[in-house]
Amino acid sequence: MTHTPAIAIDNLNMQYGGATILDSVSCTIPAGQWVSIVGPSGCGKSTLLRCVAGLTNPTTGMVQLEGKQPAFVFQDPTLLPWRSAAGNIQLPLELEQPSKESWSDRVLQVAQLVGLADADIDKYPRELSGGMRMRVSIARALVMNPNALLLDEPFAALDEILRQQLNQELLHIWQTQQMTVLFVTHNVAEAVYLSQRVIVLNANGTVGGDVAIDLPADRDPAIRNTPLFLEKTAAVSRILQEGL
């Protein structure tokens, strides 16, 4: 993995209606690294991610991105209900290359990557479970082969078992695709398990801490019971408590 910054956030400030959402946030994310952002509700985690994606303009400060536009996975699957799973997955390709008629090979490739069965890709969102819809959403983000993936609490609405299963699958995708990942979550254990670094945002929108997670690269669910995992989780939780 290289250490060229894929995402550089420089002194980002965001104010809305007189309230400060983000206050002097700066950090760099090297290419290929998985970084999670945790913080209390309303601390600006999602706003920070939206600024990185270019969906929200910061009041001051700058975001620099290396390479292509990053892909984004929203908290809700945000699928077009009138399109099948395949139709939803191929949407970014249609928007970029409107003249091309078929993208079925690439759609099948990413559908398999996220664990969608062949029978599922012709189904409409209403026919899929919550977990399957999220897989379609992730497949749609991956279809353009992005350098960076921004995930805004994608598993918040899923049950714990499915959440852990998707965590494992997402880790596998990250390892095989060599992407940079910026992951927003409420769940400290999830952040520590998935990441190489955890950035903690305080309630006032400042950066409270940046914790390196030097766990083995190959994450097995059993790692959650190791002293190092518990130590890192406690360190992140302590910073979170101090920043409230």
Binding site: L55, F74, T78, L91, L95, Y124, R126
Partner: protein, 260 residues
Amino acid sequence: MKTKHTISVVLYPIIFLLLFLAVWQIADWIWKIPRILLPSPWEIITVSIKRIDDLLSATLITAQAALVGFSLALVMGTALGLLFSISKIVRRSVYPYMIFLQTVPIVAIAPLIIIWFGGGMASIVVIVTVISLFPIVTNVTTGLRSVDTGLLDLMTLYRASPHQILFKVRLPNAIPYLVTGAKISSGLTIVGAVIGEYMAGHGIDEQGLGYYIFMSSENFQTEVLFASIFLSSLLGVVMVTTVALISHTLLARWTFQLER
């Protein structure tokens, strides 16, 4: 259980109707109610059978006017909804007058339409279009504008053009709203056609049910009046049911939120 429910839904109204007609017929035998005031069901049926060709032809003419006016309202309503969703200035300038126009009773506007378009089919179609336009415009405008912000963010992320956003998100999103507007309008079309024919359906070769209602009331042919009213209502039911069936088929893909 389901069969029992279906029987009660279908059978009870039929039993009620038969009882109602029987009481009406018996009351006519007992009190000898003048035909001009209230003909018996048997008299209405007899006269209807005698004039079946005229009545069916009038029903088809009314249906034709309703369908043409409804089609025009669909096209114009969708175009106006599109214009209102694209231009805030146009929406804010014109939309209040659309609401104002909707509050004016159609029978008040009809004479003006007849002055402008002359008596006959053209005026009748315009009256149908005017009466059924508003629900379509409001629903299409709402459908085009009330797109999930997440979907619009998604389109922004992939740098979609306004044209792509319109055709891939806004228009498909507006389909259920258009269908709802069309369902409301479909019932109004027969009202519009009958009012139009009542006021402008004179002196033309092809006369619809509104004309028959007018003429039979003028000539105290109460049996024909009853038959025309019944056929108008039946036409309204057929129109609404047809649009509801088409919408059910069309909206099968759009039921994302309803089923889970």
